[in-house]
Symmetry: C2
Subunit: 146 residues, 2 copies
DNA sequence: TTGAAAGTTTAGCATAGGCTAAGTTATATG
DNA sequence: CATATAACTTAGCCTATGCTAAACTTTCAA
């Protein structure tokens, strides 16, 4: 198997990217939830299950289940039949997400895509952008546009 | 409930973005697999289970299970203990993925990020980029850099 | 040609993230 | 203040994606 000799080292490098993508995905949902909870609290003083479900486009029961995980991860606090609150850690994550989101969305707009596309694509891209890329986007924004 | 009156229409718009992200995610794995199978076939004439597992950084059994789904989706063909092949549909998806991937990676490089970061981030971003954004990236590449 | 190594598959488990249906609690209003 | 409605929770189901361990094929070399 002559072919196999060079496949081990390059494969290790390659697999790192996919591992990062998988890790990003599991962090993604938590990020979306806390960001949305933060928005709801800012907009209307409290975050309720139903509002989250509506905005995410999922069933109520799905939200309940996910909130349990977020509570276990100490990102939110919650009492039965009451509104949802963010822990300090949760706020930190929400702020971080908002910052990233804003940069990516503005960047896409500066690149020339429509408002609607910027909004939709940034939602997906946000969680896969490294600090380095985010910084590069920031620099681009400083030069061009806002 | 004055607050609730304006939440339905805006929520519908918002939820569309998250629905797109969820849809992207379920298509993502299939895309990564067929792209990798295409690469392996080009590089060494055939795609084997083990090579895919190594490059993705997952266990062999995981690959086997996923390949079953890809076979059900008619993206690949496969006989027990033999190499894996792409269907016409599979090749189409692989080519499409490669094209997208190349543009996103080149774009990140042109934006000024390092080779390594471009490689890693493009892997995650690739699946969340709309046609419109891809075109904007292409235009940017035509102006600046390659 | 046979047996060990390499590769592939199966079985069985876990978690995440969806869903519907049915039950429980809060609240707003008649 | 009683009750209908809205909000929340629980139970139970499903699929996708990961894992390990064990069983089965292929292949290569002695």
């Amino acid at each position: 198997m002559a072919l196999a000799t060079k496949k081990i080292p390059s494969a290790k490098l390659r697999s790192a990217a996919f591992k990062r993508v998988r890790a990003d995905h599991s962090a993604e949902l938590a990020g979306d939830y806390v960001e949305m909870i933060a928005d709801l609290i800012d907009e209307r003083g409290e975050a309720r299950c139903t509002d989250i479900a509506m905005r995410l486009g999922v069933a109520n029961a799905t939200v309940v289940k996910t909130l349990k995980r977020l509570q276990a991860a100490e990102l939110i606090t919650q009492e039965p039949y009451r509104a949802i609150f963010l822990t300090v850690e949760g706020w930190k994550m929400a702020e971080d997400g908002r910052r990233k989101h804003a940069i990516v969305e503005k960047f896409l707009l500066a690149l020339g895509v429509s408002q609607e596309t910027a909004r939709i694509d940034s939602e997906g891209i946000e969680h896969h952008v490294s600090t380095e890329t985010l910084r590069a986007m920031g620099k681009f924004l400083a030069r061009n546009g806002s």
